[in-house]
Amino acid sequence: MDLSRRKLIGTASSITVASSMFSVPAWANNPIKIGMSMPQTGPLGAGGKAALLALKMWVEDVNSRGGLLGRKIEFTAYDDQGNPANTPGIYSKLLDVDKVDLLIAPYATVPTAPIMPLVKQRAKLLMGNFSFQVNAKVKHDMWFNNAPWNDAEGWFAGFLQAAKDSNAKTIAITASDQEFAQNLANGVRSGLARTGLSSVYDQNYPPTTKDFSSIVRAIRSTKPDVVFVASYPGDSVGIVNAAHEIGLGPTVKIFGGGMVGLQFTPIMESLGSKLNGIINYNTYVPGMPLKGIDDFFKRYTAKAVAEKVDPLGYYLPPFNYATGQMLEQAINATKSIDDKAIAAYLRSNTMDTIVGPVKFDAGGERANQRVIMAQFRGVKDKDLEQFRSPQRQVIIHPSADKTGDMVYPYEKARKA
């Protein structure tokens, strides 16, 4: 009797001691849950995977410093395949099944547009991720779009300047019929009168279009000075290939504009020399002075190579990391994870991030825009490392970041 009771006490106390050594620290019991969907497959997947890696890096960094407000961050990201049909269901699940505290938007306009009414209805803060004017109709007051642009005018300014500098008179516009491209193209269309450019071709194409030879052929027959394209990665590649195959014609001075995908490293590598001469937007080109960014790239590249993701990571990753930094600053300053409190902080402060200072305007878009217009030059085929050199993408706008003059007409620039 006695022996077994002692044994029992002994066993019980040793279990207690042991379990207290292995017990989960209090901070991990009550995590802050952050959730989102990210296109990891599908047309936007190449960019999305890189962006996700950067966000995970931020979560790791924060957790290694002890979390936020003494609580660990638990991060959930689903794959929406870049398909707008998937996001409403995923975000409903995040809110009602996974019960997350804070939301981040998926990368890009098209998957984000469907969830805007939902987040407004549920009064949730949403950190935007490189979408374009997606809040214009819904006017959600807790929306903060992390991207270096605001509206079409800011975006188009550099391209327009290039057109003016080349004495262009006519423009051909082609845009994918989806939220992003239409927002951008409409902004361009409404600004034409002021620029002295007249439109000789203006056609939208369905997002599923794969063969662009007829479009390129039609554009060529109108003999334009400027060709402006607003497209997503799949179409951007198709258009560049078609421009090569059919030819845009000798009259074209400037070609490019708002082609998403020409910033993704895998696409840049596979298009190679076909990129030369194209003047397109970007958010970061190597050589731009930004505090802390070189250190970020070193750490990012190490992880990216291990996970077989875009090793350069120029376009999206720094900005996604910055999203994390902004959330961190807001949560630490307001000492809460309440959507309204964080929103108030983000609205009234300028945050310091690895992509520079970030300030938001009343609509949740960037108050201090910085869209880069760069021209591809001297790009060779099948060479990934060449893009580390600032000379592959010559910045022609804004003047504060300018690294060279543009070369035109397009045919001449292709060989420059």
Binding site: T41, P43, Q203, N204, A218, E245, I246
Partner: protein
């Protein structure tokens, strides 16, 4: 959209080349549906399988057209076996023309589609070959080499199949089995084996046609859906059972699509095949050259 004869001529040329391609991808359906009355809605899905097969072989450095030719015997055998199973399950039970046969093929379409997504992913895939990316310059006109390649292969396929069906014993047996099975039996030929042969050929042709699809444009798993419209449009337009009609019908569709593409824009192009199909069904369901 400014109208010009140059553009019209280019659209016509483009349409003829594209139309030859549409004829080639519909040849298999002309045999399986046109001659054998099998409601083979899964035809475009098998076409896509051929395209992805050629893509996979491309990883080993095999040219797409060569890959298509290599896959033909594989697809032939698979098709023959598949028909035997279909015959045992459906045609013998008498269910074939009814709900169950159709439902079965629709189910197969989706299984193939999802299989492709799970294996290859939803991204677009394309092939590289020396004849992809450049074009033939005739004055102001540019004809992409990949279109010329597609058209040539299509032409060869159509001629070969047509000759086989009209000049060889088993070819004629295939044509006969759809018309009068009993008479064929009296001649000492097993109709089931003939149908197996026919379905095998229809599937084998798809292998090469699929490879041509890969040359023409990037492929992705849901592409089979619009090809349901194109292939059935060609087969219905031609009239069931007519091989030469298939070529003509393909050309008509190709030209129609190309003209709509050029002058109305890419947003109307998807409806051309299906619209033409509806018109034919409504006004002349026996097709232009049908039996």
């Amino acid at each position: 959209m400014a109208f010009s004869f140059d553009l019209l001529f280019e659209a016509l040329l483009f349409g003829i080349l594209l139309g030859g391609f549409y004829a080639a991808v519909s040849l298999g359906l002309s045999v399986s549906f046109g001659l054998l009355d099998i409601p083979n809605v899964a035809h475009p899905a098998v076409l896509l399988l051929g395209a992805y097969g050629a893509f996979s072989l491309g990883h080993y450095g095999i040219d797409p057209i060569m890959a298509g030719v290599l896959l033909m015997p594989v697809f032939f055998v698979a098709g023959a076996l598949f028909y035997k199973a279909y015959y045992l399950v459906f045609e013998r039970r008498g269910d074939a023309a009814a709900v169950n046969g159709l439902a079965f093929f629709f189910g197969v379409v989706f299984i193939i589609e999802v299989g492709l997504v799970l294996w290859y992913g939803v991204d677009q895939q394309s092939a590289t070959a020396p004849y992809i990316g450049g074009s033939l310059e005739l004055g102001e006109i540019r004809l992409p080499y990949r279109l010329l390649a597609a058209f040539s292969v299509a032409l060869v396929m159509a001629l070969a199949l047509s000759t086989y069906l009209s000049k060889t014993f088993y070819g004629r047996a295939i044509k006969a089995v759809g018309q009068d099975e009993g008479a064929l039996r009296l001649m000492g030929v097993d109709p089931v084996k003939v149908k197996q042969l026919a379905f095998g050929i229809a599937t084998g042709v798809n292998a090469l046609a699929g490879a041509v699809l890969l040359i023409l444009a990037p492929i992705e798993p849901t592409m089979d859906r619009i090809y349901i419209g194109r292939t059935f449009c060609v087969v219905v337009l031609a009239g069931l059972g007519s091989m030469s009609g298939t070529l003509a019908a393909g050309l008509i569709l190709g030209i129609a699509e190309s003209i709509v593409l050029m002058f109305l824009g890419a947003s109307w192009a998807p409806a051309v095949a299906f619209g033409l199909l509806m018109v034919m069904l409504g006004f002349r369901p026996q097709g232009l050259f049908g039996r």
